[in-house]
């Protein structure tokens, strides 16, 4: 029993103040975009704990929190509606050494997405891609790796644009993406039409981009190259040196989702992570969240997934989530999503 517990012990993961993001990789794309629009670099980097000269050395490493500050500064100094979309277009494959080679030389879109997930510390440290499949579609969700913040919409818009642009670039065709957003239609909806797809819907239960599975396995131009495999090895080595591949909140989410049917408490989870409850609480507070919030988030995502993708009934979903009492489940669901299950089903068109 003890042994299994040990083997299943989750990794620590990177936190919002771990310095590992190479400043001349992803952040530099944003810096260059701002520079091309005549934004002063000193003003852009104010409060980021970073100077442009540091970026130029190629050795500066910043934390997700500093990266987020840079995003926030960009939003303030370059408030044009197309900024996140232009950032997304320039994001991948990019020029990030081995990680970019891995993306560029992927066999097909599915593999590229799997690489983005596996090497997200290198390619997408602020957003974690979450893939679900049903019989016809890939559903791609995004989770905020280092907690939610004011730049949520900016990050989502850029990550989604990045996937669309990468696929279009490699497959030389416009793919029939379908988009749903959990928020109301923004005033700059035309940016969504032009940069993402004409098929966008707002005010939906979750934010997700979907693509018919047939398009996932179309071969990419550099499929199966030796260089790609070597690049993967280099990335794996980098992750081994760091000792983690995902963020602390990702690891926590995964643990909670896996154990969702068990009674979960701060104490039990802290024990699984081999830290004291006080320390876990402190770490969560650092990311601007709490244990209950993370638990609700994991339950919400799973519940919506079970309704939407698996098409399960109320009883089945409640049971999967470890609820014995259906009334209790319905009340909790309303707290997580603002909807009762029947309203959600109506929205989903079941």
């Amino acid at each position: 029993m003890r042994l299994t517990a040990l083997r299943e012990a989750p990794e620590a993961g990177y936190e919002c103040d771990s310095r590992f993001v190479a400043a001349h990789h992803l952040p530099a794309v944003l810096i260059d975009l701002a520079r091309s629009r005549n934004i002063d670099t000193h003003r852009l980097l104010r409060g980021c704990g970073l100077f442009y000269e540091d970026v130029m050395t190629g050795r500066a490493q910043i934390s997700p929190r500093q990266f987020l500050q840079l995003v926030e500064n960009t939003r303030r100094l370059l408030p044009a509606a197309d900024t996140p979309f232009l950032f997304g277009q320039r994001l991948w494959p990019g020029h990030y050494g081995a990680a970019s080679d891995v993306l560029e030389q992927a066999d097909h879109l599915l593999q590229a997405l799997e690489h983005i997930k596996a090497y997200r510390a290198l390619l997408s440290p602020l957003l974690t891609p979450v893939m679900h499949f049903d019989e016809q579609y890939l559903h791609l969700y995004w989770r905020f790796s280092c907690g939610e913040n004011d730049s949520n919409a900016f990050l989502l818009e850029s990550a989604m644009t990045a996937v669309v642009a990468l696929a279009r670039r490699q497959q030389m065709e416009r793919l029939p993406w379908r988009f749903e957003f959990a928020y109301a239609e923004p005033s700059h909806v035309e940016q969504y039409w032009v940069h993402l797809s004409d098929n966008v819907a707002f005010g939906r239960p979750s934010t997700v981009m979907s693509l018919p599975r047939a398009h996932l396995l179309r071969p990419w131009p550099h499929a199966g190259s030796t260089g790609g495999r070597v690049a993967r090895q280099t990335c794996d080595d980098q992750l081994l040196t760091w000792g983690w591949a995902a963020s602390f909140l990702d690891e926590l989410n995964e643990h909670l989702t896996r154990q969702i049917r068990q009674p979960l408490s701060l104490e039990r989870v802290a024990a699984a992570f081999a830290v004291s409850p006080a320390s876990l609480k402190r770490r969560l507070a650092k990311h601007g969240t709490s244990f209950q919030e993370q638990l609700d988030l994991a339950r919400r995502d799973l519940a919506v997934h079970l309704y939407q993708v698996k098409g399960l009934s109320n009883d089945e979903v409640a049971q999967q989530l470890g609820f014995n009492d259906i009334t209790n489940f319905r009340r909790s669901f309303k707290r997580w999503t603002g909807l009762v299950p029947s309203e959600l089903k109506a929205l989903l068109g079941h």
Binding site: A81, R90, M172, R174, E190, D198
Partner: protein
């Protein structure tokens, strides 16, 4: 800041020199008042006015390109500012009652400044008319600098929506048709990937100018987003709009854009769509236009 001082050094030196000479003359001819004699209400009122006038002068010099209109306006403000300054000095320095010239120093510059400012305003109005003529096809009905596009010399989507709301109102009132044309470049991302984002920006700027040249005086062109442009055509029916759309499409196909670096010729093409306004608001109309464009767009991008 340094270039600002350099550009307007004569104006500022002139104002400070005049102010200083005025001060010297007053000091030479009169005596400094005692504290109880000073009327602080007057000091605050006249001094405050002088400071605000000086602020206006600085804002004017910073905002406007050099030229005749700027010179007239700044000279007018300088005169008024000097008059107020002399008024303030009056509160601190007692002059002999028989001195008439001090009145001249205080009062005379004011009407002169006012006249210069009025003359400047007249030319400002003329200048504005000339600029508006240059802005034709890029704005009509109203101006809002915050809605200008940051890449092309056009207005952006928010301006388009506000303009469209007013234009729809007018077309209903006047019982005239109103049409929209959307122009979307084909394979624009290809250009960004192959020649770089800067070249892509150049193409957008070139295309914006080209489309402007192909529109009529009453039309307005905006950049909706990315490589998608929308032209608002007042008093235009669907048939006429289709004709204009086709002409725009042909003009883009015939554009010989050459890359900045190697002068290589790029072949551009565009997809166009038109809609005529029915009884709907601007958001619905734009949605319908966008749907039309999606239908017209070829599914598979060709490798240009």
């Amino acid at each position: 800041m340094r270039s600002f001082l350099k550009m307007h050094s004569w104006t500022l030196v002139g104002l400070f020199g005049a102010g200083n000479i005025g001060l010297q003359i007053y000091l030479a001819a009169g005596d400094i008042k005692y504290w109880p004699e000073i009327n602080w209400m007057d000091v605050a009122g006249e001094g405050g006015t002088a400071v605000i006038l000086f602020g206006w002068l600085i804002m004017l010099l910073r905002a406007r390109p050099a030229g005749r209109v700027t010179r007239l306006l700044s000279l007018g403000l300088c005169c008024m500012c000097f008059a107020m300054w002399m008024d303030v000095l009056d509160e601190f320095i007692r002059l002999a009652p028989e001195a008439v010239w001090d009145n001249w120093l205080e009062t005379a510059p004011m009407p002169v400044g006012m006249l210069l400012l009025t003359f400047g305003m007249f030319h400002l109005h003329r200048e504005q008319q000339a600029i508006s003529a240059q802005m034709s096809k890029r704005e009509r009905l109203f101006r809002e600098y915050r809605l200008f596009d940051n890449l092309t010399p056009l207005a952006g989507a928010q301006y388009l929506k506000q303009h469209l709301a007013q234009a729809l109102d007018m077309s209903t009132k006047e019982q005239q048709p109103l049409s929209l044309v959307a122009i979307d470049l084909d394979d624009f991302n290809e250009i960004n990937v192959r020649y770089g984002q800067d070249e892509g920006d150049q193409v957008l700027q070139g295309v914006a100018q080209l489309l402007l040249m192909n529109l009529r005086q009453q039309d307005v062109l905006c950049r909706l987003a990315g490589d998608r442009f929308v032209a608002v055509l007042p008093n235009t029916g669907e048939h006429q709009a289709l004709g204009i759309a086709e002409e725009l499409q042909q003009s883009i196909a015939a554009l010989a854009h050459r890359t900045v670096r190697h002068g290589e010729r790029l072949h551009l093409s565009a997809t166009v769509a038109t809609v005529m306004a029915l009884n709907e608001d601007e958001d619905q109309l734009l949605k319908r236009l966008n749907m039309g464009l999606a239908k017209a767009k070829p599914r598979t991008a060709q490798c240009a």
